[in-house]
């Protein structure tokens, strides 16, 4: 273990790769994450405003069944538990409001929420996120996965050059 308390990213990556492979073998599909957020958000909106939600054609495929019979929702529930176990066992768990060194708390609320909105919107446009398209598609050598990975890193580098003080 490195002094920062984490495992080598190559080791953790190999474990993640075996998990992904196991998912293909066991479930016939790769990993996912953003779908679970759409399911939860869709269910919540449906509870608050069912008539309006019914008019949103895009959401119908996320509302077909209960969240607890949605594969990705359950998988992300597992992610929360697994990460909690990792953090507790290796003493990485600490309640905090993490932010860049030059970021105020108010600014962090805005970057965390605003960045999240962009992530959610972008994952729906791309039909998935780092898990569902980049990792899963990447491992399948699918064009989708590699287009997404290249676009994501290129854009991240570009915007980091523009927003130098955000995290560095």
């Amino acid at each position: 273990m490195k002094k920062n308390g984490f495992w080598s990213p190559y080791l953790a990556g190999a474990g993640l790769g075996l998990t992904l492979l196991a998912s293909f073998i066991i479930a016939g599909q790769g990993l996912g994450a953003s779908r679970a957020f759409t399911v939860v958000a869709g269910k919540a909106m449906n509870a608050v405003a069912p008539e309006y939600t019914a008019t949103l054609s895009y959401l119908s495929k996320y509302l077909e069944r209960s969240a607890f019979s949605d594969w990705t929702f359950l998988e992300v529930t597992g992610v929360l538990i697994g990460a909690l176990i990792g953090a507790l066992v290796f003493r990485g768990f600490k309640l905090r409001f993490d932010r860049g060194s030059s970021m105020s708390v108010g600014m962090r609320v805005m970057t965390a929420f605003g960045g999240g909105i962009i992530l959610g919107f972008a994952s729906r446009l791309a039909r998935g996120c780092t898990s569902g398209v980049a990792l899963t598609g990447g491992a399948q050598l699918a064009l989708s996965g590699w287009v997404f990975v290249i676009a994501m890193f290129a854009s991240g580098f570009l915007f980091a050059a523009l927003f130098r003080r955000l995290w560095s």
């Binding site: 990213p9 990556g13 993640l16 790769g17 998990t19 492979l21 293909f24 073998i25 479930a27 599909q29 790769g30 990993l31 957020f37 939860v40 958000a41 869709g42 054609s57 895009y58 019979s69 359950l74 998988e75 597992g78 992610v79 929360l80 697994g82 990460a83 909690l84 176990i85 953090a87 290796f90 609320v109 965390a112 929420f113 960045g115 999240g116 962009i118 992530l119 919107f121 972008a122 994952s123 729906r124 446009l125 990792l135 990447g138 399948q140 050598l141 699918a142 064009l143 287009v147 997404f148 990975v149 676009a151 994501m152 290129a154 854009s155 991240g156 915007f159 980091a160 995290w167 560095s168």
Partner: protein, 201 residues
């Protein structure tokens, strides 16, 4: 043995939780719940994200190629991620911005929250809202969303090469990338900045 397994719904859903458990555990152990580490790649200070990501892709891709060649795994029953070139290119670029600004992506926000980061919970609420925003705007976006449908095309199919040829290219590319990143991290400074000082090694 026939793979992927044919499982009852209940077993498949229970498997989802277990698979997620390992997914979350490895994300946390790789430091993927930490927004400083997640954004470090974009400032060239910490390359854990591409190292972990490409290690995972190489391991899983090698397994898939091997198991399908041995006729153990029937790839026609595995859900291949479809390609819609332009929306995925635009979505990926937008995603990169959201990742930089929030310091997370959907899976890593879950890992961050599980390690006690309340800012990651704010991001999770943001992601949920963002997917709703997309759903609301969908009628206007539908044309673009359905553009450049290339179905389940893979790089070996597109380039008409054996998947091992392509995988070898990925291995060489990743190996070179890992080497450059390790060298860079050991130096603990940005070679681009160094170049601008005129100290070219």
């Amino acid at each position: 043995m026939s793979m992927p397994f044919v499982l009852s719904d209940t077993v498949n859903l229970a498997a989802a939780v277990v698979i997620g458990l390992f997914f979350g555990f490895f994300l946390e152990r790789g430091g993927m719940g930490n927004p400083h580490r997640l954004t470090g790649v974009f400032y060239r200070t910490d390359f854990a994200v591409p190292k972990m990501m490409f290690s995972a892709i190489l391991v899983a891709a090698t397994g898939l190629c091997l198991l399908s060649d041995l006729k153990v795994l029937d790839m026609s029953r595995v859900w291949i991620i479809p390609t819609f070139f332009w929306p995925q290119l635009a979505g990926g670029a937008l995603f990169g911005l959201g990742y930089l600004v929030s310091g997370y992506c959907p899976g890593t926000a879950a890992a961050g929250f599980a390690s006690g980061r309340l800012d990651a919970l704010v991001t999770m609420v943001g992601i949920s809202s963002g997917t709703l925003l997309f759903s609301v705007l969908y009628p206007a976006l539908e044309g673009f969303y359905k553009m450049s449908d290339m179905s389940t095309v893979t790089l070996p199919e597109l380039l008409r090469v054996n998947h091992w040829v392509l995988l070898t290219v990925v291995y060489v590319f990743a190996g070179f990338m890992f080497y450059v990143m390790e060298r860079h991290e050991r130096r603990g400074r940005d070679p681009l900045a160094k170049k601008s000082l005129g100290a070219v090694s």
